[in-house]
């Protein structure tokens, strides 16, 4: 009689095996395999017997006392905390560029003159949109670079047991902040296609930002697979190229009847 392997028995216990009926039937007949299954079960019983000390009823309060003083200061208002996060020293450079470009976009529309006619309003909007297109394009370029670096790295060949990705993590963290801003702006501007790509990009960036600082080659490979699985690199490239073409097109053809965002959404 062919016996069931230890791994099959373990997976059967885990409820994973497809051929559960066949294994159950075999176990009914085979005392040896039953003993083997019991032995696996005994390991779990021994694990269950391992006690965890009770930290006590007051533990939650104790933790609060320990951390309360160390919690970073927040402004007492939701949007203010955004502001604070934006102007944290480390992020200042990264998000500064984005903020400056948005400010330029905003004022570019204003300084183009008083709103005398519909054409003037249209021109102001165009200028604003053009600056945003350039800014988002640059952001996508930076994101593409970090994703490419991660995707093309071959750490397994270096023979290292752990790979330090803290630099990529910090860059991704900074880009998350920028990304949020641009996504929100794209949404407000009705450019759902760009907003959707930025939304997907944000998830990947968050994934990288929240990874451990040091990962094993297998974990690194898993990050690479997740980047590849979502096809985000390709999407970012496509949108970036569209934005670049749009930006170049605008220079030569300043007057268009329909917003290119609308065209992109339709597409």
């Amino acid at each position: 009689m062919k016996h069931i392997t230890e791994e099959e028995l373990f997976r059967y216990r885990e409820g994973e095996m497809k051929a559960r009926d066949a294994i159950a039937a075999h176990l009914k007949e085979c005392g040896e395999c039953r003993v083997e299954l019991d032995r696996i079960e005994a390991v779990f019983q021994a694990l269950d017997a391992m006690p965890v000390p009770d930290p006590g009823e007051e533990y939650g309060r104790k933790v609060w006392r320990q951390i309360a003083e160390r919690l970073p200061e927040r402004f007492h208002e939701k949007w203010a905390s955004w502001w604070e996060a934006w102007f944290a020293p480390r992020r200042l450079i990264a998000v500064g560029t984005a903020a400056a470009l948005l400010a330029i976009a905003f004022f570019a529309g204003r300084i183009s003159g008083p709103k005398k006619s519909n054409d003037d309003v249209l021109d102001a909007g165009k200028v604003r949109e053009r600056v945003l297109v350039v800014a988002v394009g640059a952001h996508l370029g930076k994101s593409e670079m970090i994703l490419m670096e991660l995707s093309n790295a071959q750490p397994a060949e270096s023979g290292k047991k752990l790979i330090n990705i803290s630099t990529e993590q910090k860059r991704a963290e900074d880009l998350v902040e920028e990304n949020r801003l641009y996504r929100q702006t794209a949404l407000n501007g009705g450019d759902n296609a760009v907003a959707s790509t930025l939304n997907e990009l944000e998830r990947v960036l968050l994934d990288v930002a929240n990874s451990p600082a040091e990962v094993t080659p297998a974990q690194f490979e898993s990050i690479q697979k997740r980047i590849a699985a979502q096809g985000i690199l390709l999407k970012v490239r496509v949108v970036r190229q569209e934005l670049r073409a749009e930006s170049e097109g605008r220079k030569s053809e300043p007057a268009q009847n329909d917003s290119t965002a609308k065209v992109r959404n339709k597409a």
Binding site: E6, A46, L47, M50, R61, L71, P212
Partner: protein, 215 residues
């Protein structure tokens, strides 16, 4: 199994409301979340590290990180699950760091604290244990502690999340930054290693309970 965090606890407000208020700048709302989930996060951290000192540090760090990242927390998610994952991520980093340091120092695998941390008597369910069984149960607890400490950080995380916390393979895979197939293998490898280490205690048919755990 994991506790539901959507209940309205002693703080009087739901987790979702506490998160919302914290984001709005109400610092004391975060206190509700900390007080409500600390014990649970402590249990997880203790199982992953095997000692109170490390477990307490992990709890503090997990809540600090959760506070910093609260804006990334999706409103419809479960705060308990989210902070659990932050704690597990931090714990695995810490375990790896510790393993690296230990291997560099070539220190003994057991600390004085870990020897005395677990009260072996609490394992014995029989109100009047025989001296023989008592001795076996003490020995079993020691062996299990050693076996858990000898697991790799990924194996220990996997077995804690799977067996004690009832996590799904995909959730464990996310913490291990691995795929589901590799994660299943990690759990199995952990069980194999524990089984190997406990061989003298894990008996055959009829007496297949680990000696010292009978009630």
């Amino acid at each position: 199994m994991r506790e539901s965090s959507e209940r309205v606890g002693a703080g009087g407000i739901s987790d979702a409301a506490a998160v919302e208020r914290t984001l709005a700048g109400e610092r004391d709302a975060y206190r509700v979340l900390v007080e409500r989930h600390s014990t649970y996060v402590y249990r997880v951290a203790y199982r992953m590290t095997g000692n109170s000192h490390d477990a307490e540090e992990i709890v503090q760090e997990a809540f600090l990180r959760a506070y910093q990242k609260l804006q990334q927390f999706a409103g419809n998610a479960n705060f308990g699950t989210w902070v659990y994952r932050i704690a597990a991520n931090y714990a695995i980093d810490r375990l790896r760091q510790k393993k690296n340091e230990e291997s560099r120092r070539e220190a003994p695998t057991r600390s004085a604290e870990s020897e005395t941390e677990i009260d072996p008597l609490s394992q014995v369910k029989d109100s009047a244990p025989s001296p023989e069984r008592l001795a076996t149960s003490v020995e079993l607890a020691k062996k299990m502690k050693e076996a858990l400490d000898a697991l790799s950080p990924a194996e220990r995380t996997a077995i804690v999340m799977r067996h004690w916390d009832g996590c799904g393979i995909e959730e464990i895979a996310a913490v291990l930054k691995s795929n589901t197939s590799a994660t299943k293998n990690t759990v199995f490898r952990a069980v194999q290693k524990l089984r190997q280490a406990l061989k003298p205690f894990v008996q055959g048919r009829g007496t297949a309970k680990a000696v010292g755990t009978e009630s």
